[in-house]
């Protein structure tokens, strides 16, 4: 059952179409990641779900009720900002208690209930020993937990997270990602997570919404998005290094660097497309070797190959090799629109 339904949602700032016709359903209890480059409209979309931004057109309903015209407090949503937006003059307890106190009258919370709820939530996030501290006395990771506690304490229908991990250092981030995912799963809350970081998106999302230029490019599980991209944008946006795209006479085709391997490694050359590959440079990255070179006939762009280091093939620079891509790993795109084309027989298409 879908908890949030978004249809025909648009947001124009003067002539800029920040969100340009979005239809999306968010399921109860799922972890949905909205992924896209900066300026793609993902934050604006989230702010419209929160009620902080008024849509220019379209409709949002949460739990079956149309909330398009409602202010944030009547939507049953809560939000964690990138900056955490902790109230700097309040201690942790008062920060977490703030949304409860703000909704005290509607929800009939008395002092005792507020104290219990704050303490329970704090215990859940393991910040119960920090309740007397001020935000500036907390580490980045602790601040993030306080922000999540404040967002969770009202038991919202939807938890909105706007790049909440980007202010943490790399080591802490991986840890926080795991915890966030565990926490979401155990509390069974519906989470919408905005990010531009594909690794975060792949790691966290039950489903990923890829956005670009105000439009949804593809919605799917991390695997669907990676293995079966809907168009050239999705194909090249995900994956690092990104997919090689080569233009041929009728269309473009692409393959990921990790699928582009020396022919000798391929046990069944019948099912693979062979390319003559001139190796220009090799970077040793520890687990992989990143190879830069030119595919014969397409030497206007560098083509990358990612060869696992444990494969004992010597790769010398300024040397010709034969590299192969399995036919199933070749993706075809329309030359003009970039839309994905399915080829029944990839061998003939080349």
């Amino acid at each position: 059952m879908s908890l949030v339904q978004i249809s025909g949602l648009k947001k124009y700032f003067d002539t800029v179409h920040a969100v340009d016709g979005v239809d999306l359903e968010i399921k109860q209890g799922e972890f949905l990641v909205i992924l896209g480059p900066s300026g793609c409209g993902k934050t604006t979309l989230m702010r419209m779900i929160a009620g902080l931004e008024k849509p220019s057109a379209g409709q949002i309903s949460i739990g079956g009720a149309d909330v398009t015209a409602l202010p944030p407090r009547k939507r049953g949503v809560s939000m964690v900002f990138q900056s955490y937006a902790l109230y700097p003059h309040m201690n942790v307890f008062n920060n977490i208690a703030f949304p409860l106190r703000a909704q005290r009258r509607e929800k009939k919370f008395d002092k005792r209930v507020i104290r219990e709820k704050v303490e329970d939530t704090a215990r859940l996030l393991e910040i119960d020993m920090l309740l007397d501290r001020r935000p500036r006395q907390l580490s980045g990771g602790q601040r993030q937990r306080v922000a999540i506690a404040r967002a969770m304490v009202t038991q919202p229908a939807v938890l909105l997270l706007d790049e909440p991990l980007s202010n943490l250092d790399a080591k802490l981030r991986a840890n926080a990602r795991d915890e966030l995912k565990d926490f979401q799963r155990s509390s069974d809350i519906t989470a919408v997570f905005v990010t531009h970081d594909q690794i975060e998106a792949m790691g966290l999302g039950d489903r990923i919404v890829v956005m670009s230029e105000g439009k949804i490019q593809q919605v799917g599980t991390p695997q669907q998005i990676y293995d079966d991209p809907a168009n050239e944008f999705v194909a090249t946006f995900l994956g690092s290094p990104s997919m090689n795209i080569i233009a041929s006479a009728h269309h473009k085709f692409g393959f990921r660097p990790e699928h582009f391997l020396p022919k000798t490694l391929n046990d069944n050359p019948e099912n693979a497309r062979i390319f003559h590959y001139f190796v220009k440079r090799v970077e040793y990255l520890g687990s992989d070797r990143l190879v830069y070179g030119y595919v014969q006939g397409h030497d206007s762009h560098l083509t990358l190959a990612k060869v696992p280091s444990n494969v004992r093939v010597s790769l010398d620079v300024e040397t010709d090799y034969e590299f192969a891509v399995h036919y199933r790993d070749l993706k075809f795109f329309d030359q003009r629109s970039g839309a994905r084309i399915t080829r029944r027989n990839p061998a003939e298409a080349l």
Partner: protein, 308 residues
């Protein structure tokens, strides 16, 4: 052999340039603040008058004489009373106006412009304007009250045709405080507006998502966050007001009797107009320790309240 050193030009020397850049401020402070201040101290401990400019040290005699003077005590009390009462209203109005001016509405630019005018107008010029507004006979305020039946025979306020704004003890004090509030509110408003617009929008968005409405956001988020800036605004306007003599000098000359005589004016009247430079200096120096203590206390309070 060619030298590798850059051609030596005085302005290439960091020390020279530093001193040059500092010079205008230093000269200003030394000449127009430091020197008069030291001179006032020297005068305060001497028997100098306009007629006899020899400085001979007399110890605390001037201060003792001033402190035992009943007029001085009354003036001192009046100054403190005027300052405190006007600050209450200045803070109240400045907060309200700053909140209004940081909202979005049509004509905001024009409204801001109008409200800044009292501050942008030269004090003496504005005071002459108020002198007319509060004139004993031709006050436009009285005229309006007369036309609306509040004044004149059978009027609700008085049977007289005039209220005598600057001639009756109560109204004169109220008028002076009102004009001070009118004059000082814009600066405090501007300072508070800067404070309000420095609150991160994330915090305000967060409060909105948390379900906070206007009053709660104002009282629990905005005002606590601008408290340090509010203290600074208060300090500015208190110090300006405490030392001011222009308003009463133009409007009332301290009258009726001594009801609106404040420290700055009294010091001027005794020291310059009365020619007793030593006592005038002593009077003005009474304000100094008080203002210094107040400034230190408020600045420390502000930095303690500073949370970011």
């Amino acid at each position: 052999m060619a030298s590798l050193a850059l051609p030596s030009f005085p302005l290439d020397n960091r020390r020279v340039v530093g001193i040059l850049f500092l010079a205008p401020a230093l000269i200003y402070i030394l000449l127009l603040v430091g020197f008069p201040f030291l001179l006032a101290i020297a005068f305060g401990f001497s028997d100098v008058t306009v007629g006899n400019t020899d400085l001979s040290f007399v110890g605390l005699r001037n201060f003792e004489a001033v402190w035992e003077n009943d007029i001085f005590r009354q003036v001192f009390a009046t100054t403190i009373r005027f300052t405190l009462i006007s600050q209450v209203f200045i803070l109240l109005f400045a907060n309200i106006l700053a909140i209004i001016f940081t909202q979005e509405f049509t004509g905001k630019w024009f409204a801001r412009f109008i409200f800044i005018l009292p501050w942008a107008t030269p004090v003496s010029l504005a005071m002459i304007g108020w002198l007319w507004m509060l004139d004993t006979k031709y006050s436009p305020i009285d005229y309006l009250l007369l036309q609306t039946g509040f004044l004149g025979p059978g009027g609700h306020l008085s049977n007289d045709r005039n209220l005598f704004w600057l001639a009756s003890p109560d109204l004169a004090q109220i008028s002076v405080i009102f004009v001070q509030v009118w004059r000082m509110t814009p600066l405090a408003t501007v300072i508070l507006m800067a404070g309000l617009s420095s609150i991160p929008t994330d915090i305000l968005d967060q409060a909105e998502v948390d379900g906070s409405r206007f009053m709660r956001t104002l009282l629990m988020i905005k005002l606590p966050l601008i408290l340090p800036i509010m203290v600074i605004a208060l300090l500015f306007s208190m110090i300006t007001m405490f030392g001011d003599m222009t308003v009463v000098y133009v409007l009332t000359r301290g009258g009726p009797v001594d009801y609106t005589r404040v420290l700055g004016l009294y010091s001027f009247q005794v020291g310059i107009e009365g020619g007793n430079l030593a006592q005038g200096a002593a009077i003005s120096l009474f304000a100094f320790p008080l203002l210094l203590a107040m400034a230190i206390f408020m600045l420390r309070a502000a930095s303690r309240a500073e949370v970011r």
